[in-house]
């Protein structure tokens, strides 16, 4: 027989502190936060390009040495790109990065690796990262369409 769960009340200190006099109205706080985050758009865009290049180098090395441990690094960078791109509304880049996360996660858990599938994703991400907000007008949808087809061919439904 398993031992029973013990339940107990805990003081909500966050609620107590956040209700102290002063502070901001939630909508003002949200507006201020959006402004502050927007101030990082330039450095974040530069960081996305940097990360995409870093990922390209990692993938090239992994392919040359047929080293499946490279998938861990590619996954981590791709996951970081997904988070950053999403924060600034770069939806095409975020989708491409998410797709690469799916692939690398699949390969690192023992499935036979397809380096061409990785390469096409890395190239697509590098292109979308360098285009930044202009990606939509530059045909991001056709890039994504190609990546979706590659992903669907490699990953089991």
């Amino acid at each position: 027989m398993t031992s029973p769960a013990r339940t107990f009340a805990v003081e909500n200190k966050l609620g107590k502190i956040a209700r102290e006099p002063g502070g901001r109205r939630p909508e003002d706080a949200i507006r201020a936060a959006e402004g502050k985050v927007e101030g990082l758009r330039g450095s974040s865009t530069a960081s996305l390009v940097e990360k995409a290049e870093q990922m390209g180098a990692l993938a090239a090395k992994g392919r040359a040495e047929n080293d499946s441990s490279a998938f861990d690094g590619i996954y981590d960078i791709s996951n970081a790109i997904y988070g950053l791109a999403g924060a600034f509304g770069l939806t095409a880049l975020a989708e491409a990065a998410f797709s690469l996360c799916d692939l690398t996660d699949h390969f690192r858990t023992g499935a036979p690796a397809s380096w061409p599938a990785i390469d096409v994703h890395v190239d697509g991400i590098r292109l979308l990262a360098s285009l930044g907000e202009k990606a939509g007008a530059a045909g991001a949808e056709s890039i994504l369409d190609g990546l979706r087809r590659v992903r669907n061919r490699v990953l089991p439904a």
Partner: protein, 199 residues
């Protein structure tokens, strides 16, 4: 979601101790700027599991926002450790887990690690503020059991699943017992809906 907060009410996080953790420096900068906009002064910034552990062992924290990807471990690992670390009050503090790409095996991992809330990226400031307000009003009890340690995962008080006996000592039976007092008369029921001033 905005329980307990009207238009004129305010959120004061200026004296709150907040821990923000993300393995990616740029991601951490975004979190810090977001919380600066919320009025947070000097949050504790961490990129690694080691740094997170050091901070919670050193001071009382009122809210933690932990990315699932730390530089040396996964955020889940820190939350599981924290909940069982017996660091009062930090082991019981609210924790928001931020997730990026989520593997199928990890979908329930955040919840099972003991996070108060799991927020999927991209986490817009409006979403984060909603979650903070929800946590300010959170009255859930804390559960400690061999398989789980953290806030009660039953957000809605619906009782145990249909056909199952509850595991908690205060879970009520689904069987309705025999009435111990006489039924109310119709005029007594009507009076409940039409209260009248008493002279």
């Amino acid at each position: 979601m905005s329980q307990g907060f009207g238009k004129s009410e305010r959120v004061n996080l200026s004296t709150a101790e907040i821990l923000l953790a993300c393995g990616d420096l740029q991601g951490l900068n975004i979190l810090c700027e977001m919380f600066a906009g919320f009025g947070v002064n000097a949050p504790r910034r961490c990129q690694s599991l080691v740094e997170c552990k050091a901070v919670v062992q050193e001071r009382a924290i009122n809210l933690m926002v932990i990315d699932s990807a730390l530089s040396d471990a996964e955020g889940y690992e820190f939350i599981s450790w924290l909940r069982r670390a017996e660091l009062d009050p930090n082991s019981f503090a609210p924790v928001i887990l931020l997730t990026g790409h989520t593997r199928p095996s990890q979908v329930f991992r955040g919840r099972d690690a003991g996070a108060s809330f799991v927020v999927a990226k991209p986490a817009a400031p409006a979403v984060m503020m909603q979650r903070i307000i929800w946590l300010m009003n959170d009255q859930r009890k804390f559960v400690s059991s061999p398989g789980y340690c953290g806030p009660d995962r039953r957000v809605k008080a619906l009782g145990p699943p249909v056909g199952m006996k509850g595991r908690r000592h205060d879970d009520l039976s689904a069987e309705v017992g025999i009435a111990k007092t006489p039924n109310l008369e119709q005029n007594e029921i009507d009076a409940l809906f039409n209260p009248k001033a008493v002279a």
